[in-house]
Subunit: 416 residues, 2 copies
Amino acid sequence: MQPTSPLPPLRLSVPGPSGRADAAVTLSTVARLVASGAAVSKADLVAAAGLARTTVSTAVDELLARGVLRPDGARPTTGRGRPADRLAMSARGGHVLLADVGARGAHLAVVDLSQRVLAHEHIDIDVQDGPDAVLAAVEDALTALRGRARHPGDGDPAVRAVVIGLPGPVDGNLGIPVRPPIMPGWHAYPVSARLQRTFDCPAVLENDVNLRALGEARALPADQVPLLFVKVGTGIGGGLVSREGVLHHGADGAAGDIGHVRVRGGPDTACVCGNVGCIEAVASAGAIARRLAAEPHQLGVATIADVRALIARGDPDALGVVREAAGVIGELVATLVHFYNPARVTLGGSLTAASDELLAGVRSVVYQRALPLATRNLVLTNSVLGEYAGLAGAAVLGIERVLSPPGMDALTAPRP
Amino acid sequence: MQPTSPLPPLRLSVPGPSGRADAAVTLSTVARLVASGAAVSKADLVAAAGLARTTVSTAVDELLARGVLRPDGARPTTGRGRPADRLAMSARGGHVLLADVGARGAHLAVVDLSQRVLAHEHIDIDVQDGPDAVLAAVEDALTALRGRARHPGDGDPAVRAVVIGLPGPVDGNLGIPVRPPIMPGWHAYPVSARLQRTFDCPAVLENDVNLRALGEARALPADQVPLLFVKVGTGIGGGLVSREGVLHHGADGAAGDIGHVRVRGGPDTACVCGNVGCIEAVASAGAIARRLAAEPHQLGVATIADVRALIARGDPDALGVVREAAGVIGELVATLVHFYNPARVTLGGSLTAASDELLAGVRSVVYQRALPLATRNLVLTNSVLGEYAGLAGAAVLGIERVLSPPGMDALTAPRP
DNA sequence: TATTTTTCCGTCGATATCGGACCGTGATGC
DNA sequence: GCATCACGGTCCGATATCGACGGAAAAATA
């Protein structure tokens, strides 16, 4: 019965480097709780961080001395007891620069560590122009935006971090795009290194859909994770936020790249990737536009904006094609819901902003196909942040980067 | 340009409860490193845990005093310098009971905290008999097995944990099955509570495929995660191990439940779940058996063992049907590889043990369909642990449970 | 054989964080 | 005026961790 041992040596998981609870971690914890708005007083911090009052007190003192936090004088009475001394992120904490670059344009913003949007704008770019031209335009615009972002009396806050999202696969560790299909000339271009040199601060590179997924997840209650974000635009992409609220990148940073999944319906449709039947070739906004322009519709649409106009007008042909696409996307979403069992699926991209047709179509398929266990508590909606979801995710990454123990050290007020 | 703020308040992630690096965490870290075989001396522990020698030393002393560790006298010379005083898990650390219950049988085992398999056996059960009968049989067999597992001179080690895997969706927190399709009468039955009472120790309930996935992941090098395990047997199921090496359960513990995903091919095939075109109804071992028994083959197969025999004999009809199923499964795997981007996909279940037909078929489709970025480093193989993968996963869960800070407290030698 | 080198391990004091106890402060209600 | 409630500052003891020093055991070298 017990001839030889059937089990090989198994690795057991070991909790972190364990090390001592470094003071830097405590500082970071306190700073992030204030920055996220989860705590505005020391009493809040004690409750939220689970630390002793004295520990919180010393941490806050340190952060006040460094100029990261500032007292926020107002003491609104809550009715009973002594009102709390309020805390806020100091304006001297510095700026975080954000760029959410799409295929044809980029959303830019300057935020401070308390998530205030100091300035933002949209610029027209074309990623086809290559990294040099696009990044130069982004850098110039960000620099100009920063000039406009200065509040009177705040001095000249330093740039603490830059975050950029690009519409293609990236290697976040190396800070480079990895063979992005729609971005010729960007492969292995040192995006992070360039931005880091330009602004003399840490730079973070992330995929654009991942940024949207993260933004959505962090704008929602904490029970809305795991979250699956599906963007339907010129292409189709996905982003995954795990139960812990962090992005899932997969082994090669390629997770969520669902545009070239094979789907039922239109098995003969050729795709730019060389295969046939990819969902992107069948159900993306681009595919819908092409289909409406061809037989038997011939509606004379060329751009996605035309498609949106048709849908808004309630054109039956267009709605029919969208419904069909929604069915295809819905089946994929149903599969992924089975597999990943998210708490929430969020639809984004140009097509979802136009109307609710896509959402309705996806919903009907998912709730019909997926098993009750996985859909009982599932929330399936359109993006709540819309076109700003990417900036929101970038803000999260940037602020967390600045307020993390490694970046935290550099965080000292220029002049007390 | 900056009309109103486009961003709502965003939650920032906060590192754990932060609290001080509790001594219990250090103890747990050291114990797990020894238990996993990653360290056999204090010097190893210093390197592996990243702690100071003195910290490791006091932790080891404490664990020796508690009877968790024991000195392992032999000091094999490594060629230079003073040989290390070797450490091992004490036999007095206690036993962990494992049960991997399938539809028609159960693998049982008794292991100690150093992963030694003290005894194991396979018993015949039928989950259709209901929880009372099955769990009574499992409990009896485990008790008997434990009797045989006593090493001479080890005294009577206590049972520290019980782990059970069941072939259906479970709620690990509540310790109950959740509407399992093939286990009538098991819904909401308090499995964990019953085992906890029977053996007077913590009980862990997990899905059987998840156990296999975890076992595989922990038996492989640490760079083989994220890992996707796909079991093809009577049904089809999946298990996910994240990059951190832990199981992904999803929002409702339903993650990996991919048996009822819709696939291309055989869209009219009805499934027990009420839908049509489910992969389980098209490509599972059960579906293959049914297909071979019907037109146009009529091979007179009834069980999965018959199918395996046909495949082993190289029957062309059977191989054709298996190839077809492999294609269907391969397309699903390709989709999931795009989506989750695992470092490794492992195939398991009765069909993969019979021959390499399934693996070959899946591989050809995945490498044809999936994009290079996601498959460049992908390893796609059969299970390395075979039928014992579930027990391996159970051992990991059980030992980690015992060696975690909460369970650690109970870990004290009965007599010094 | 004596010495050096190498590696492992124990002891001690220094540091710094953590958490409890105590007290002061600012508001409300009786 | 007094009690109550809640926030916050300060002191001090507990203790986890670390660094430095020195001792121990084996092999290499002179």
